[in-house]
């Protein structure tokens, strides 16, 4: 029998951005909180290079100076580039630079280092962190609509008991998936996952800055679409850290399966494109990794609260899969709102779904859900109009190269020919329909 002293106010499963945000806020509010992380340390199972920090600023006002000093942040992104890679042509849109030199709430990070730092902030606020411990399942009591979560079962059959459990166990969240089935907290659609494969490549800081056109300490985020990803729903990226590049490809699993291509082969094809090879050459591979990304959008977000249970971050599918590729920021917002709901539940002594309802209402009005609502149709658009990431940019890049390929023709004839070639075989109706759909990409 547990006595009252043995019961945590809250157990958080997973020490990623969502779980740590929740733990930090609950600890700041004086609750007795434990975070259980299966990795050797927070972040050791995580990949990713780009971090939006507006939500972190709400949790830890003025965090930036401390985080920089303590090595949690790599480079402030001052420059973004969207690149179309054709077979013999490329086309890029490069923007930002000085206007973002003083910060754009966009940073490159090494997730293992950042997550470890973030975990330390939660600990400093009073949260308990148990690393290297696997949660194998949840503990339940009651039947029917009164069924509630009362704790977690750890590997080796030890138990932690709590008033509420926060599931922040990520995209490959086996515990969360099982718990949602048990509690009947499904989503209207099954999740669509993308697989990201990523390499960390070492490169001297000076080379990175020269190659990507950066002042010292500033960073670049490059997104790529085009020929290496033909027939796939996906693209690639390069993020610059201080002395490494993060180079990766992320593509929807269903599209890879249909095309019959291996994710690692797509990444290699991307790296060997002449435009990309120029950026990477001379680098040395430090690490290879893979991670799932829930890309189904708002229709795949499950019921977020149940009796004694909240679902956060990637475990809840809170990813904006448009060009923003925003996940950690949404995870942190969900963590903050979940913590506030738990604080309210503690004050009222009610940990039922009704007692935790402010999480669901808070999330409905959150920036995360507003953005997910905006891109609701994007997965269907990408399935229905794959040309948006391939055929259309190819036509534009062809138009530009033809336009500027100097010949003996008068410019009027040259330009007419270029336009005619670019529009060849394209129905006006389809063009109008696809352009209307394209706004969803933004």
């Amino acid at each position: 029998m547990s006595t009252d002293q043995d019961i945590f106010d809250a157990i958080v499963v997973g020490a990623g951005p969502a779980g740590l945000s929740a733990a930090l806020r609950m600890a700041q509010g004086g609750l007795n909180v434990v975070v259980v992380e299966r990795g050797e340390s927070a972040g050791s199972k995580n990949l990713g290079g780009l971090l939006y920090t507006t939500q972190l600023e709400k949790l830890l006002p003025g965090f930036q100076e401390k985080a920089l000093r303590e090595g949690a942040l790599e480079r402030a992104v001052s420059r973004r580039r969207i690149v179309y890679l054709g077979e013999q042509r490329q086309m890029a849109l490069d923007f930002g630079a000085e206007v973002w030199a003083t910060g754009n709430h966009t940073w490159t990070v090494h997730r293992p280092a950042f997550d470890r730092w973030f975990a330390r902030q939660a600990e400093d606020a009073g949260a308990n962190l148990v690393e290297g411990m696997v949660v194998d399942g949840l503990l339940y009591e009651g039947e029917g609509t009164a069924r509630r979560v009362v704790g977690v079962r750890l590997r080796g059959d030890e138990e932690f008991r709590s008033r509420v459990v926060l599931l922040a166990d990520g995209a490959h969240g086996l515990v969360g998936q099982a718990a949602r089935r048990e509690m009947g907290m499904g989503s209207s659609h099954p999740q669509h996952f993308a697989l990201g494969v990523k390499e960390a490549i070492a490169m001297p800081a000076q080379v990175i800055e020269d190659r990507f056109g950066l002042e010292a300490g500033q960073g670049a985020a490059l997104d790529f679409i085009g020929e290496p990803f033909k027939g796939l729903i996906g693209g690639a990226f390069i993020y610059t850290q201080r002395e490494t590049l993060n180079v990766g490809f992320a593509g929807r699993l269903d599209s890879l399966r249909k095309a019959g291509v291996e994710p690692g082969d797509v990444l290699d094809r991307f790296k060997r494109h002449p435009e990309v090879r120029r950026l990477l050459k001379g680098g040395e591979l430090l690490e290879y990794g893979a991670h799932l990304i829930p890309e189904g959008g708002i229709d795949c977000v499950p019921q977020l609260a149940g009796n004694g249970l909240l679902v956060l971050g990637d475990a809840a599918g809170l990813v904006n899969m448009s060009l923003y590729k925003e996940g950690t920021n949404h995870a942190m917002e969900s963590g903050r709102l979940a913590a506030e709901a738990v604080l309210a539940a503690v004050a009222a002594g009610d940990f039922s779904r009704a007692g935790l309802a402010s999480y669901e209402t808070g999330m409905a009005a959150s920036l995360a859900m507003q953005d997910l609502r905006k891109v609701r149709e994007l997965p269907a658009v990408l399935e229905g109009a794959p040309g948006l990431l391939g055929d259309y940019p190819d036509r534009i890049s062809r138009l530009l190269t033809d336009w500027f390929t100097i010949t003996d023709e008068p410019k009027e004839a040259l330009q007419k020919r270029a336009v005619k070639q670019a529009l060849g075989g394209l129905s006006k109706l389809r063009l109008a329909r696809d352009l209307y759909r394209a706004r969803r990409l933004m």
Binding site: R38, G39, E40, G43, S44, K45, N46, L47, H110, R111, P112, E131, G132, M133, V134, D136, R155, A171, H172, L174, F193, L195, V197, E199, A200, I201, Q241, T244, N246, L253, L256, R257, G260, V261, E262, P263, G264, D268, K271, R272, R277, L280, K281, G282, G283, E284, L285, L286, E287, Y288, G289, A290, H291, L292
Partner: protein, 98 residues
Amino acid sequence: MPDLFDMTLEDKLYRTRYEPDSDHPHITVKVEVCRTCAEKPCVLLCPAHVYKRKPDEREVVLVSHDNCLECGTCVQVCPTDSLEWRFPDGGMGVKYRH
């Protein structure tokens, strides 16, 4: 040092840090169910080539769960639900640094 643009998957995985729990495989294949699947998308899509077809039989065999990056792709794409997948023990398995 293999060239950055011509590395095999084995070259790449060699750079990733693991603490394998070799005595306790965290993935087991339910062979009877797996045998009913002709496509075996796990073989194509696992980014660490953990799965390989047995040459003369229809079931999948695990090549090396020690290479597993714990991404969960195999669980998501398995059409027959043949994989019993549990996390490696605490602190074991893949350990990312970057």
